[in-house]
C-alpha cells in the first residue's frame, strides 16, 4: 500500500499527481468490508462498542428526500428535506481507523442538488465538495474516521441552500467509537445497554397575514418565505426527531432501572441545552469527542450549533423522565420535549413523599368539611 509519505519522498511531482488522481486506491485498500443497514432514529443500528477486529470499510447508503411532512398536532405542514426519510438522518457508527464508504443517492423525484458534509471527515468541505449530485444521480465517497466522537453530518449545497437544507431537516450524526470502547477520565471502560439518537431541529414555518402557518405546493414556492422567516432567527418549532411529540406517548424511549443508556444529541443549526428532568448525566462528553475525559454528574449540558454531545446515564428510579431543551419556553411552547419511560422498583431511600399534600398546619386548623 502506498502512503502519502512514500509518494512524496520517492516520486516526482508528476508522479504524485498521478498517484493522487489515480482511482487505484480502492484496489490498494485490502480491508474487509461491512455493509450496514441503517435504522431510523432514535434507534441505532447494531454495533460493537469495543472491537477486537481490525479496521474495515464500512458501507452506508443515504437517500436524500424532499417531502412535505406534518410537524405538530395542529397539522402544520412543512416542506422538509432529509436523509433516508427520517429527521434526523440515521446514525452511522464506526470505529476509529475504519473507512466510511458512503453511497449518496439523489432520486429523480427530487428537485434540487444535494450533498453531504461529514464533520467527522477531513478535507473537501467534509466531503461536500465531492458529493454534490443532481436528481437522478448517485455518488460514492470514502473517508477515514481518524477522530473519535459523535459528529454531525449535514447537507451543504451552497449559498442560502445551506441553511435552508439544514433547517429543513438534512442532518444527522456519525459516531466514531474508540476501538477499545468508551472510557471514563481514569481510563476505566464504560458500557451502555441502549443508545438513543436524538436530533434537535429548529423549524421556521412562514405565516400568513393573520398569523396562520402557510403551506406550499412545492419546495421552490416555500423557499423565499421560509428564508425570510429563517433570517428572523425565531423558530416556530423546536423539535426532537422531526415533529412535536415524536418521542412521547407510544414512541417514548424505554429503559429499565439499572440500565445504562447513551443519549446522543445533535443540533446542526442552533445551540441547545439539554436536561433530563429527574435524572442526570453520569458521564457527559459535552463537546462530543471521546478523546477528552467525560464530565461527571451534570445537570444540563450545552450543545453548540453544529455539534453533538454524548451522555451516559444509569436510571435509578422508575417513572416518566421528560428529556428537554431546558430553555423551557422551547421545550413546552415550541416542542423540544421527549419522554423516557423507565420501569422498575422505586427506591424510597432516594426519594419519598413524607406527607401527602394537605392544608398548611396552624394551631387554628379545624376539621375537614364533609363533601356528602
Amino acid at each position: 500500500m502506498l502512503s502519502r509519505r512514500t509518494a512524496i519522498s520517492g516520486g516526482t511531482l508528476a508522479g504524485l499527481a498521478a498517484i493522487l488522481a489515480k482511482p487505484a486506491f480502492t484496489e490498494d485498500l485490502m480491508l474487509p468490508r461491512q455493509k450496514i443497514e441503517l435504522v431510523a432514529p432514535p434507534f441505532v443500528h447494531p454495533h460493537e462498542q469495543a472491537t477486537t477486529q481490525g479496521p474495515k470499510i464500512m458501507e452506508f447508503r443515504l437517500v436524500t428526500e424532499e417531502k412535505e411532512i406534518v410537524i405538530d398536532d395542529d397539522g402544520t405542514k412543512f416542506r422538509s428535506m432529509n436523509f433516508n426519510g427520517s429527521i434526523p438522518g440515521p446514525m452511522m457508527v464506526v470505529h476509529e481507523g475504519d473507512y466510511v464508504e458512503l453511497t449518496l443517492v439523489n432520486p429523480a423525484t427530487n428537485t434540487m442538488p444535494h450533498n453531504i458534509d461529514f464533520h467527522a471527515a477531513t478535507g473537501a468541505l467534509g466531503g461536500g465538495d465531492l458529493t454534490l449530485i443532481s436528481p437522478g444521480e448517485q455518488v460514492v465517497l470514502r473517508f477515514k474516521a481518524t477522530r473519535t466522537g459523535v459528529f454531525v453530518y449535514h447537507c451543504i449545497p451552497g449559498g442560502p441552500m445551506i441553511p435552508w437544507h439544514i433547517a429543513s431537516g438534512m442532518s444527522g450524526v456519525m459516531m466514531v467509537l474508540p476501538r477499545d470502547g468508551l472510557k471514563d477520565g481514569a481510563g476505566r471502560s464504560l458500557h451502555y445497554d441502549r443508545v438513543y439518537d436524538i436530533g434537535e431541529n429548529d423549524f421556521y414555518v412562514p405565516r400568513d397575514k393573520n398569523g396562520k402557518f402557510k403551506s406550499y405546493a412545492s419546495h421552490a414556492e416555500a423557499f423565499f418565505d421560509t428564508l425570510d422567516a429563517m433570517r428572523r432567527l425565531v423558530p416556530t418549532h423546536v423539535v426532537f426527531n422531526g415533529r412535536v411529540g415524536a418521542l412521547t406517548g407510544e414512541n417514548a424511549m424505554k429503559a429499565k432501572v439499572g440500565e445504562t443508556i447513551l443519549i446522543v444529541h445533535s443540533q446542526a443549526d442552533r445551540d441547545s441545552r439539554v436536561h433530563l428532568i429527574g435524572g442526570h448525566g453520569d458521564y457527559v462528553w459535552e463537546t462530543g469527542k471521546f478523546s477528552n475525559p467525560p464530565e461527571i454528574n451534570l445537570e444540563t449540558w450545552f450543545i453548540r450549533a453544529g455539534s453533538a454531545a454524548a451522555a451516559l446515564y444509569t436510571f435509578l428510579e422508575p417513572g416518566i423522565y421528560p428529556y428537554v431543551n431546558h430553555r423551557m419556553i422551547e421545550a413546552v411552547e415550541l416542542g423540544a420535549t421527549a419522554h423516557f419511560k423507565v420501569e422498575g422498583p422505586w427506591n424510597d431511600d432516594l426519594m419519598v413523599q413524607v406527607k401527602a399534600p394537605a392544608p398548611i398546619q396552624t394551631v387554628e386548623t379545624v376539621g375537614a368539611t364533609k363533601v356528602h
Binding site: 422508575p318 416542542g335 420535549t337 422498583p345 401527602a356 363533601v371
Partner: protein
C-alpha cells in the same frame, strides 16, 4: 326517555292562556328585547346516579382511589352540542367575547377556550336570552354524559406508594386516550349522540365544568371529606377527567407536564329548569311558528 326542552313545553305544565299572554308580551317589539335565539337544549329529568368524586384523595396519608358516592340532580337542560364557532362568533360580534381562533367552519365546536372565556360566553348568552346559562358542575356533566363518561380513576392499592408506577400508569392511560382520535375538531355530530341525545360527548373536545379542584381525605369509615379547594383550577371532562388552570386555552404537553393533555378545550352550558326558562322557550316556539306561517 329524555325529550328536548321544546318538545316538553308543547305539552308543558304551564296554563296555556298565561303562556300565550306572556309570549305575546315577549313578542312585542321592545328595543331591549333579548335577541339571541335559544340554543338547542336537551332536558334532563331529576335522577340519582353513582358519581366518582373528582379531585385527589388520600387515606392514611397515602394516595387513595377517589370514592364513588350516590348523587342526585335536580331537573336541568343542557346544550345538545358544544358551543360552535358560529355561536361563539355572535358573542364576539356583540363585543362580549374575546376574538378567538375562528378561522374554521361555523359548525365545528369552538376550541381554545379558557374557563373564563366560557364563563364570559355564559354571561353574554344569559343577558341576550334573559335566562341563566352557566357551566355544568362536574357532577352534572357526569350525569348528562351518561354512558359516555369514562371513569379514568385508577385503583390505587399496594402500589400507591410507588411514584414511578403511578406515573407510568397515568402516562399509559393518557397516551391510549389521546391516540384514540386525531385532534382536528370535527363538525357537530361527528362523534354521535349518547342515550340522552347529547352530541359529541367525549369526542375530541374536552369541556370545562364549573367545579373547582379539590383535595380530600377518606377517613377510617370510608367517608370522604374535602380538605382544600382550589378554584384557580377547574375540572375538565371528556375522554378523561383532568384539572386545568382556568385561564389555559390550549393544554399543551411538554416540560414537566409528562402527561398528555386534552386535545382541545371547549364547552357546553346548562340551563336551570325554572318558570322563566319555560316561558321564554315557549315564546320562542310561538314566534318561530308565526314566522314560518308568514313565510
Amino acid at each position: 326517555m329524555p325529550r328536548t326542552w321544546n318538545t316538553r313545553l308543547e305539552f308543558g305544565a304551564i296554563p296555556a292562556a298565561a303562556a300565550v299572554m306572556a309570549s305575546l308580551m315577549l313578542l312585542s317589539p321592545r328595543p331591549v328585547a333579548p335577541g339571541e335565539p335559544l340554543p338547542d337544549l336537551v332536558e334532563l329529568a331529576p335522577g340519582s346516579f353513582q358519581y366518582r368524586l373528582g379531585g385527589d384523595f388520600t387515606r392514611g396519608g397515602r394516595p387513595a382511589t377517589a370514592p364513588i358516592v350516590a348523587a342526585i340532580t335536580h331537573a336541568f337542560a343542557v346544550m345538545r352540542h358544544q358551543v360552535t364557532v358560529g355561536e361563539y362568533r355572535r358573542c364576539v360580534d356583540a363585543g362580549a367575547c374575546r376574538r378567538g381562533d375562528e378561522a374554521s367552519a361555523a359548525d365545528v365546536p369552538m376550541v381554545k377556550i379558557s374557563w373564563w372565556d366560557a364563563a364570559g360566553y355564559a354571561a353574554w348568552l344569559s343577558r341576550s336570552t334573559g335566562m341563566s346559562f352557566r357551566l355544568p358542575s362536574d357532577e352534572e356533566w357526569v350525569y348528562v354524559a351518561g354512558s359516555r363518561f369514562r371513569d379514568s380513576e385508577r385503583p390505587r392499592g399496594i402500589d400507591s406508594r410507588d411514584p414511578g408506577k403511578r406515573a407510568l400508569d397515568r402516562y399509559e392511560q393518557e397516551t391510549a386516550i389521546r391516540n384514540e382520535t386525531d385532534p382536528e375538531p370535527r363538525p357537530v355530530g361527528h362523534f354521535g349522540a349518547n342515550e340522552h341525545g347529547l352530541l359529541d360527548v367525549a369526542g375530541n373536545v374536552w369541556e370545562w365544568t364549573d367545579s373547582c379542584f379539590a383535595r380530600g381525605i377518606i377517613d377510617a369509615d370510608g367517608e370522604p371529606s374535602t380538605t382544600t379547594v382550589d378554584c384557580g383550577v377547574r375540572v375538565v371532562e371528556g375522554r378523561h377527567r383532568t384539572y386545568l388552570t382556568d385561564f389555559i386555552r390550549d393544554a399543551r404537553a411538554g416540560g414537566c407536564t409528562a402527561g398528555l393533555p386534552p386535545s382541545n378545550l371547549g364547552f357546553r352550558l346548562v340551563l336551570d329548569d325554572d318558570w322563566r326558562g319555560r316561558l321564554r322557550a315557549f315564546a320562542d316556539r310561538v314566534k318561530r311558528a308565526l314566522t314560518d306561517r308568514t313565510i
